[in-house]
Symmetry: C2
Subunit: 205 residues, 2 copies
């Protein structure tokens, strides 16, 4: 398997399959088919078989996929068979919401620190964290070796914060601000963009 | 054009194309190619041509797409050539963040009210809104004729709130809670799931 050869569009679907499979496992199911999985995620069975076959032979004709095995394989492919430390930048409403979010459990991520450049916010408690001074951010992230960050700052502050994250060695940034970030080629950015999801639904109204 | 015939996976890519085209327009660009658009969104040129051709003939061989025209057409297809009123349920950290979010401008959505079932929060101001009592939610949404909602309540409260939204006539729900919602077939649900985006990036680390 060579990461460079798999189109990004396929990689983007794997977490969606993984989430659906984990829900099936939570319901006590043991096996599934590309047909059934397709109905859960709104993707054709043929596409699912094609996507999954990029990584090897996981299913058997007639018996379908073992849910547990496919989960295990997808977690390994996506590298969430381990726990990634994550820093949160921005201790406003969104930063609070992100730190208190319960949806990272068992998904491969663990928040380790939150930073803000507002001295008024530094030292305040959010859940089990104390907000740290953004001035210390680069050194702290370097020393912790953190590679993943969630950016929850206002749009006007997002590019400067992203530059600092890159300097600190972060390689994956999830950006909540409604702004496109410029980062080097070896840094990945994803966007939380509620309008994209809303537009996907209005088509059907 | 028949909405039933277009696979959901294609519909899901159109808002991504629209966002990229709007960014190009903001930069002053007039025309683009499926190749260039593909580089912006990480999707192959062939796939983009195939997706867009589902809806008609928008580009000319050799001259590419008019960005303005394609934006106009995509907005019409996605029905965001109009403004949709949106209600927000939940006035916690996430509700605050959503109401104050600047990224809905020019995307087709306009928040009109926010509700919470915590009497302590009712009447508090968030931006230009006063938090309204969730007890009045169904009647208020019905009387306003709102069809789109953002659900920013804790996971434990999300299904009950979704049931009320459905009862109020809402047909599209953007759910921020880390829980899968059960809704009738004629109601669409999308999920804001940061883990999905994070997992898409860890593959490359």
């Amino acid at each position: 398997m060579n990461a460079r050869k798999i189109p990004d569009i396929i990689i983007g679907r794997l977490p969606v399959y993984l989430r659906a499979l984990q829900r099936m496992a939570d319901m006590g199911l043991k096996t599934t088919s590309s047909q059934e999985l397709g109905e859960h995620v709104g993707i054709s069975a043929a596409q699912i078989r094609k996507d999954i076959s990029q990584f090897g032979e996981f299913g058997k004709q007639g018996t379908g996929y073992s849910i547990e095995y496919l989960i295990e394989q997808l977690r390994e492919i996506l590298k969430v068979d381990r726990i990634w430390d994550v820093v949160v930048i921005g201790a406003g409403d969104m930063g609070h919401a992100v730190v208190n979010y319960q949806g990272f459990n068992d998904r491969g991520f663990h928040i380790v620190a939150i930073f803000d450049n507002d001295k008024e916010k530094v030292g305040h408690e959010i859940g089990k964290f104390k907000v740290e001074d953004a001035e210390t951010m680069i050194e702290r992230i370097k020393s912790m070796g953190v590679k993943v960050a969630m950016l929850a700052v206002p749009a006007a502050a997002a590019q400067a914060a992203a530059d600092q994250l890159v300097q600190a060695g972060v390689r994956a940034i999830l950006n909540y601000a409604p702004i496109s970030l410029n980062v080097p080629n070896n840094v990945k950015v994803q966007y939380i963009d509620p309008s994209i999801h809303l537009q996907r639904m209005t088509f059907y109204l």
